[in-house]
């Protein structure tokens, strides 16, 4: 970084006015007897956006803090952040090279779709059982492991589709059995303080699954072959092509470059997402699931069995994690420990999106994917940037918990 001071001062400026806005605004709104539920969060982002220029009018006029106002403020903050970064480090790849920026953005979105799919499973479980599954990362890991061993060791040459289906079946089955034995008794009042029990028992499952897998396989990293290599293609067939495909990569406009494994994984995730939405909104069982998540008793009255919906939701959530693992095993190298950072990322996403909100989980996945891509691309020291990948999510989580613990689409806590 050349002029790190510029960036540092900009950051301090944002933090100072944000903190001031967050602390003072609710007091002013309370004194004027106005609604203060959004005042702290709104004051913080508006203060961070334009500092005294926006805070003084806000405190004088005290308008109703709408989500549009907050959205504009957030956009300005992000803008200031980017401009400050660009001024501070003009030679950085992600300032100087437009193509690199677009590629990073595309890669961020592509990977964000898969993060979203995984978090969707977690939020599905939460919205119906009221339980955060701490074994979610292990289902992700097992999904990848099954896919790898099917395609590479057990039945070499088998279609990846079969392997992915097998990983779905395995994770679904583990989720099913676990729910029936360990989580079903929670509903009947047999277990005191079910939330605490659920945290611990799913954590125990994670512990068990991780070391069980490690004992069966080994601690050597594995990585699956590309599932569906691209055909070699250039459109139009001349230099400066609009679309250029090699088996491992696709390039559009000579600028946006997405590696094949990520691309296929994202396509798989989108297909799965479409199937999931169709299931949740167009089938009877899906509607029953959503009904249970809205109101258990009312759903039971209409003839839905909430217990079997619990089982279904947990196994489906596990399966979604397994599926994202299965599609990512060709992208990252795979170890029995690979689930922990993935699970931590899913936790960030569901808190960011709002616990139990399906669109929130998907949007949260995209945001986290983009932030990670920006972080790895823009931080000057490349090895350090890669080491801190889990940290970007934690920064988001900390900000969300500080400013708006209900998340983007959260229900009231």
């Amino acid at each position: 970084m050349e002029n790190a001071a510029i960036f540092g001062w900009a950051l301090l400026w944002i933090l100072f006015w944000g903190a001031l806005g967050g602390v003072v605004t609710p007091r002013i709104y309370a004194r004027k007897d106005l609604e203060i539920s959004q005042a702290s969060f709104g004051g913080a982002v508006i203060g961070a956006a334009l500092g005294p220029l926006s805070l003084v009018p806000l405190w004088i006029a005290t308008p109703k803090i709408t989500s549009r106002l907050i959205g504009i403020a957030i956009a300005i903050v992000v803008g200031i952040f980017i401009v400050a970064f660009a001024l501070a480090d003009p030679d950085n790849l992600c300032v100087a090279n437009g193509g690199f920026v677009i590629s990073q953005l595309a890669n961020g979105i592509v990977i964000g779709v898969i993060y979203g799919l995984m978090a969707l499973g977690l939020t599905l479980i939460f919205s119906i059982l009221g339980v955060v599954s701490f074994a979610h990362g292990e289902f992700y890991m097992i999904g990848g492991m099954v896919t790898y061993f099917m395609t590479a060791e057990w039945i070499p040459g088998v279609s990846p589709i079969v392997a992915i289906l097998a990983s779905c079946i395995v994770t679904f089955a583990i989720g099913y059995v676990f729910e029936r034995i360990f989580l079903r008794p929670m509903g009947s009042g047999e277990i005191e303080r079910p939330t605490e029990y659920a945290i611990l028992v799913t954590f125990g499952l994670a512990f068990f699954l991780q070391y069980f897998t490690q004992a069966l396989t080994s601690a050597v990293p594995v990585k699956a072959q590309r599932f569906f290599p691209f055909p070699r293609l250039e459109l139009p067939a001349e230099s400066g092509a609009f679309l250029r495909m090699t088996p491992g990569n696709v390039t559009i406009f000579d600028a946006i470059s997405v590696p094949n494994p990520r691309f296929t994984a994202a396509v798989l995730a989108l297909l799965m997402l479409a199937a999931l939405l169709w299931f949740l909104y167009r089938t009877w069982v899906g509607k029953a699931l959503r009904a249970v998540s809205q109101d258990r008793q009312a759903a039971a009255v209409t003839g839905i069995n909430p217990d079997s919906m619990n089982t279904l939701a947990f196994s489906m959530g596990a399966m979604l994690a397994g599926l994202s693992g299965a599609s990512l095993v060709q992208v990252f190298s795979w170890l029995p420990q690979v689930g922990i950072p993935a699970a931590a990322r899913s936790f960030v996403i569901i808190v960011l999106g709002g616990m139990g909100s399906l669109p929130g989980a998907f949007l949260g996945g995209l945001i986290v994917g983009l932030v990670e891509a920006a972080g790895t691309g823009c931080i000057p020291d490349a090895t350090r940037a890669a080491a801190y990948i889990p940290a970007y999510g934690m920064v988001i989580l900390t900000l969300v918990l500080l400013l708006k613990p209900t998340g983007l689409f959260g229900r009231e806590l």
């Binding site: 955060v132 034995i181 994670a206 512990f207 068990f208 070391y211 069980f212 960030v348 801190y388």
Partner: protein
């Protein structure tokens, strides 16, 4: 014998045995035919270390109902703080002028050594200063071990306060979510900042008693044994006192029902943060002491496996009692070592270093599901409360009979409202059973 007296007697006996164990170690020549190897002494120290962690975690999770998966992170904060102070800070009687100098009282200077650049083997700036700028006869003093451990405690408390203040305003699930991320990010940071923390190769710490103590050398196991035992006893005493005080009542009230506790005037956030800070500080203390005893600390101490083990110890021993949790930790530490030897049955080689963890994972889940209070608690209860239970049953039966009689009388008196009388009667039945 009444149960409290039984606890006191057995506790005193256990303490005496724990204090006498070093006499039987090989260093002291053993007691008759009983000679404990230094490996056993090492295991005992490790067992106390885990016992402090498991019991303080049980105070947090079992008493207050706050599930932190970052306990090992606080342990590591304690160890790394103490180690980094030992690595980077010196006291001198003259400014070095090559390192960062901070003037202190009198003639003393606090010298912060330079951070080694990546890929170089720098000579420490103090070594260069010794050759060039420092006048002859300058004293260079290492920070005392106790002071760096104390700083480890302070850092543990500060981080505990920050994390607690951020997350404990929310429901307990958020603490669990956040602390997993917190320990992951801490591990990533420690692994990545190689110039400061040495990354995966581990940060070296000076021995607990660098010059030896009371005739023992610095590598002897006996002084660390007593140090860890004393910390363990101190931690247990502190937590026993806390659990029995108003504070203990408040945190248990918070566990049972936060809203109700708040409605009764308990400042729930303050007490949750307080218990979090206290248990995190205890974890940091254990980490700093263990770090100095082992002599090296690596980021692998805060992988999730270590956290899972502490949880398994607390849960299998008995989560809702600090004593059963600590005894569980001691038993499981030794069990883990016993189960270490791999076995080969014919062609199948079973790597026990992994399968024992699988076994404890299953045991953890089954304990939670079928024996929530842990495997030790029922034994304890049977020994101490065998008579009490029978007595309670008979008292209850008696009072039920009296109640029934009274109710019958009531219903006879008041025949117009027989339903009201029968309702409380059925209520007492269920509560008595």
């Amino acid at each position: 014998m009444n149960p409290t007296a039984l606890y006191r007697v057995s506790g005193t006996v256990a303490l005496i045995i724990l204090f006498l164990i070093p006499l039987a170690s090989s260093e002291m020549g053993g007691l008759g035919s009983l000679v404990l190897s230094s490996y056993f002494m090492h295991l005992a120290i490790t067992a106390f270390f885990y016992a402090i962690l498991a019991s303080s975690w049980s105070l947090l999770a079992g008493y207050a109902g706050q599930f932190s998966f970052g306990h090992m992170a606080f342990m590591a904060i304690g160890g790394y703080t103490s180690g980094l102070i030992g690595k980077f800070i010196r006291f001198t009687t003259a400014p070095s002028e090559l390192c960062t100098d901070v003037p202190l009282l009198g003639n003393w200077w606090l010298v912060i050594l330079n951070i080694r650049r990546v890929g170089t083997i720098d000579e420490s700036c103090l070594d260069m200063a010794k050759a060039e700028t420092l006048p002859a006869g300058t004293l260079i003093v290492f920070p005392p071990v106790w002071a760096s451990i104390a700083m480890g405690l302070v850092m543990g408390a500060v981080f505990g306060l920050l994390v607690g203040w951020l997350v404990l305003r929310l429901r307990s699930t958020y603490l669990a979510l956040f602390t997993i991320g917190f320990s992951e990010i801490l591990r990533a940071a420690i692994s990545a900042e190689i110039p400061i923390t040495e990354g995966q190769s581990g940060l070296e710490l000076v021995p607990l008693f660098p010059g030896g103590i009371a005739g023992f050398t610095s590598t002897s196991k006996i002084p660390p044994y007593y140090a860890m035992l004393l910390l363990f006893i101190f931690a247990m005493a502190l937590m026993t006192w806390l659990a029995g005080s108003r504070f203990g009542l408040f945190i248990r009230a918070i566990r049972e029902d936060e809203e109700a506790a708040a409605a009764l005037g308990v400042n729930i956030v303050r007490y949750k943060v307080l218990v979090f800070v206290i248990t995190s500080t205890l974890a940091a203390a254990a980490g700093a002491l263990q770090g100095h005893y082992i002599g090296i600390i690596t980021p692998n101490t805060l992988i999730i496996l270590q956290m899972s083990l502490v949880i398994a110890m607390a849960v299998i021993g008995g989560l809702e009692n600090i004593y059963t949790a600590s005894v569980g930790a001691i038993i499981i530490t030794f069990l883990l070592e016993l189960l270490r030897t791999s076995v080969s049955i014919g062609p199948i080689h079973i790597d026990m270093t992994l399968w024992r963890l699988v076994f404890f994972g299953i045991l953890l889940m089954l304990t939670l599901r079928f024996q929530r209070n842990g495997l030790l608690f029922p034994i304890l209860e049977r020994i101490s409360r065998g008579g009490v239970a029978a007595e309670t049953v008979s008292i209850r039966a008696q009072s039920d009979e009296e109640l029934d009689e009274e109710l019958e009388e009531l219903s006879e008196e008041d025949e117009e409202l027989p339903e009201e009388a029968s309702e409380p009667a059925s209520g007492t039945d269920t509560s008595a059973s």
